[in-house]
Amino acid sequence: MTPLTLKGRGTANKFFVKLLVSEYFVIVLSIVYFLIISIFVPSMLSGNNIKNIFSNMWPLFAVAIGQTFVLLLGGIDLSQTSTMALTSVIGALLISNRMNPDILSNSPLWGVIISENGGPLGKAPIVLSVSITIAVMILVGTLVGAINGILISKVNMPPFMVTLIAQMFYSAIAIYLTKSQNVIGLPDAFCAIGGKSIGFIPYSFFVAITLGVIAHILLSRTIRGRWIYATGSNIKAARVSGVPTISTTIFVYAASGFFAAVGALLYTGRLMMGRPTLGDGQLMDILGATVIGGTSMTGGKGKVSWTLFGVLFYTIITTSLSQLKLDSFVINVVKGLVILGAVTLDVARTRIQQKGTLSANAKSGKKVTLNG
């Protein structure tokens, strides 16, 4: 097989290939798609729609940051949606200030810590209740993730199965706690974080972006981040070089749980209720957006910024599909196909990149031996 040559249609070809391989491919694709689709669907350009896209992105982005961490390690976290559901329910049960006995009296917690007056923090001063609730939610999420991490790194169980079982387990618990009911009666201050905006910039934007920046800096400039990339790229080499692979794994999965809890906070606020089915069906969205962004499922390659681009692209596509008044099921079909297309593209991009390195080395006379 001959290495990919860039002759023939010369500079135009070269430009496209360079674009294809670049980090910013997805964002360029997003913009191009947006412009093209606007021609067919003028409503895309409406202020309302842009506002929609802008506010929909952020909770998804927050959760996807966590998934990015896990994918960087070469693992996967299928339990993020159940973590969202669990923390949403726990948060709501804590802070709700009025509950309808007809709805929630079946809950095992009824009469124990919840009642018509809501949860244990329902009547507490607002600053206290909101901060404690947020803290508890984050703690629960992080703990769930840490347990996953321990099972994966210390007991050596495959991430796919561990997080799958966790998904079933915590989802069942969330449903059990509320007996499938939603929990309403959440104070406005709590819901504002996910639901309100300053002008047309939602609070969720600030939360997600801040966390995104922190995550990005952690991954790119700190020792922890370096260790994550090393473990994900080649766990054996990492171990030999003194990287604490076990604690790194636990950290990453705990982070995934952490971000799932943050996402739950934003969504719960937006919906103004705690839902035991929060995140149902969203796993594909989370994974899809992250993978479309370019983060590799085999580990060692990816960035938070890429995930941001992926989430943007994904949100634009889904909003455009709903603007086209398509059935939600058709949208699912398209989503599935888009993800397939994205990974195919990713495989192609990786191959092109590899051939590029090899031929570049040949040109510069670097020696390539069989074993080296």
């Binding site: 952690l218 400039r221 700190t222 020792i223 922890r224 370096r226 260790w227 990339y229 090393a230 790229s233 080649n234 054996k236 080499a237 990492a238 171990r239 030999v240 070089s241 003194g242 990287v243 604490p244 060692g300 390659k301 390195t357 090899l358 031929s359 570049a360 080395n361 040949a362 006379g365 670097k366 020696k367 390539v368 031996t369 069989l370 074993n371 080296g372």
Partner: protein, 511 residues
């Protein structure tokens, strides 16, 4: 003597990997009923040569003829169909299947007209096959239950089952006991009598001398010497293989042990892996551990470094007893470990050189909140890079996988150098590295020793150990069976020790 008919002829075979010449103008002939031995150092091109014959890769120039007809295999199956069988050093067996499944995985006999396997048809053949190589095990035994020697015999059975005309053996004796080796040789000689042609690749020159009719020496991809066995002395073989005044290759001065004891190991044992290993390394020394494949070298290294567990015994470093499985603690105390396989265990191939170099030492360059102090790293990194003469234009950008083998190995050494180690363990220091870089690495190790570092070099290349060490220990089947000082380094004696499985009580002199 009847002039034997020519079976396989290679003419002017040249193989390029991009710009680099792995084989240049290789020409030789294999005659029917002849045993031809191919010898050469690591990286000389033996594997490339075999891959060309076996159809794994195609040459840029030159031609091969089989029975006078042009032979151009495009895939491994073409070679097999042409009657050429390959017995690799790394076993290609499926441990989860039986012997009979392994041998016939691609050629099951079936009940005619049905898709069902007809075991009875194959049983007769397989029994005959196993008997001929003296492997008296049931054909239905799962391969995972066999010893390495037995597995190698199954691999041979697999090759022979296709009734090949030409059989290529690549380092076949490294996992065999003495008895099994003798049986193998008897088998090879029997095959020759049956008119089969054999290409035998080995670095055990005594074997080569015993078996061959013809000897071909490869060096740096070129055939530098060939001839009849009778015309080849041991010395001629070595000189042709190494190709230069040995004195030029290795450092002039041997390392000298200094008074400080570094590593002390007492009665280290792990069932099935090593037994009763006792040894020590002092500052300033370069101690070599020589062993064949399957002797437990790399396993021992992993245990010493704390990557794998051990059941009994003790490891002391600078008089402090070490905990069993804690590589990070070892690194903090000054251990460094260059593993056998840099691709799989030593480097992050997709990452820049800089990231690889700094990986082991990040803890020491920490700012607040865990940030990496890149500013503080600049100087040490630049110093070690220039000290080891790593050829790379942009270490923060260039991926390490684009470097040559020699430079990659230097990157690994650089990584460890930054940790300011006092004890270095190197497993196969020059595997897959061109000759020029090998010499550089030997000098680097020698400089380390002069500076007071204690080094343990594990290698399957006896020549290099003889060249750079002041002491050599011989490992065989998980035990130390011999110890030699630089004043009595004798290649054949050391090799003899490596093959002399397990001398019983008392005859070992462990130092």
């Amino acid at each position: 003597m009847v002039e034997r008919e020519e079976i396989l002829r290679l003419e002017g075979i040249t193989k390029l990997f991009f710009n680099i010449c792995a084989l240049k103008n290789v020409t030789f002939t294999l005659k029917k009923g002849e045993i031809l031995s191919l010898i050469g150092e690591n990286g000389a091109g033996k594997s490339t040569m075999m891959n060309v014959i076996g159809g794994v890769i195609q040459p840029e120039e030159g031609s091969m003829t089989l029975h006078g007809k042009l032979y151009t295999p495009q895939r491994t199956i073409d070679a097999k169909n042409a009657g050429i069988a390959f017995i690799h050093q790394e076993l290609n067996l499926f441990n989860n299947l039986s012997i009979i499944d392994n041998v016939y995985i691609n050629s099951f006999a079936r009940y005619p007209g049905t898709p069902f396997i007809k075991k009875s048809a194959m049983r007769e053949n397989i029994r005959k096959l196993l008997d001929s190589i003296d492997l008296h095990v049931s054909p239905d035994m799962m391969v995972e239950k066999l010893s390495p020697g037995e597995r190698q015999l199954v691999e041979i059975a697999k090759a022979l089952s296709g009734n090949p005309e030409i059989i290529i053996f690549d380092e076949p004796t490294t996992s065999l006991t003495t008895r099994e080796t003798r049986k193998l040789f008897a088998l090879i000689k029997k095959l020759r009598e049956q008119g089969k042609s054999i290409i035998y690749i080995s670095h055990i020159l005594a074997d080569v001398h015993e078996l061959s009719d013809q000897i071909v020496v490869l060096r740096d991809g070129v055939v530098v010497d060939t001839g009849k066995k009778e015309d080849f002395s041991m010395n001629r073989m070595i000189v042709s293989m190494v190709g230069r005044d040995i004195k030029q290759m290795y450092p002039a001065e041997r390392p000298v042990a200094q008074a400080k004891k570094l590593l002390e190991i007492e009665n280290l044992s792990q069932p099935g892996i090593i037994k009763n290993i006792s040894m020590h390394v002092d500052a300033g020394e370069i101690v070599g551990i020589f062993g064949l494949m399957g002797s437990g070298r790399s396993e021992l290294a992993n245990i010493i470094f704390g990557l794998d567990p051990y059941a009994e015994g003790m490891i002391r470093y600078m008089n402090v007893k070490l905990s069993k499985q804690d590589p990070i603690d070892r690194i903090k105390r000054g251990f460094a470990f260059v593993t056998e396989n840099r691709r799989e265990e030593g480097l992050l191939m997709e990452f820049p050189v800089y990231d690889n170099i700094t990986l082991a030492v990040l803890r020491d360059y920490k700012k607040a909140f865990g940030f990496i102090d890149n500013a503080k790293l600049q100087k040490p990194v630049a110093e070690t890079v220039s000290e080891l003469r790593i050829k790379c234009s942009a270490i923060k950008k260039n991926q390490v996988k684009g470097l040559s083998g020699g430079n990659q190995q230097k990157v690994v050494l650089c990584k460890w150098l930054l940790t300011k180690p006092s004890f270095l363990m190197v497993d196969e220091p020059t595997r897959g590295i061109d000759v020029g870089s090998k010499s550089e690495i030997y000098n680097i190790l020698n400089d380390f020793a002069k500076a007071g570092m204690g080094t343990l070099v594990i290698s399957s290349e006896l020549e290099e150990l003889i060249g750079i060490c002041n002491r050599i220990l011989v490992l065989s089947k998980g035990e130390i069976v011999g110890s030699f000082n630089s004043n009595n380094f004798d290649r054949e004696v050391i090799l003899g020790a490596a093959f002399r499985q397990n001398i019983s009580n008392g005859a070992t002199n462990i130092v």
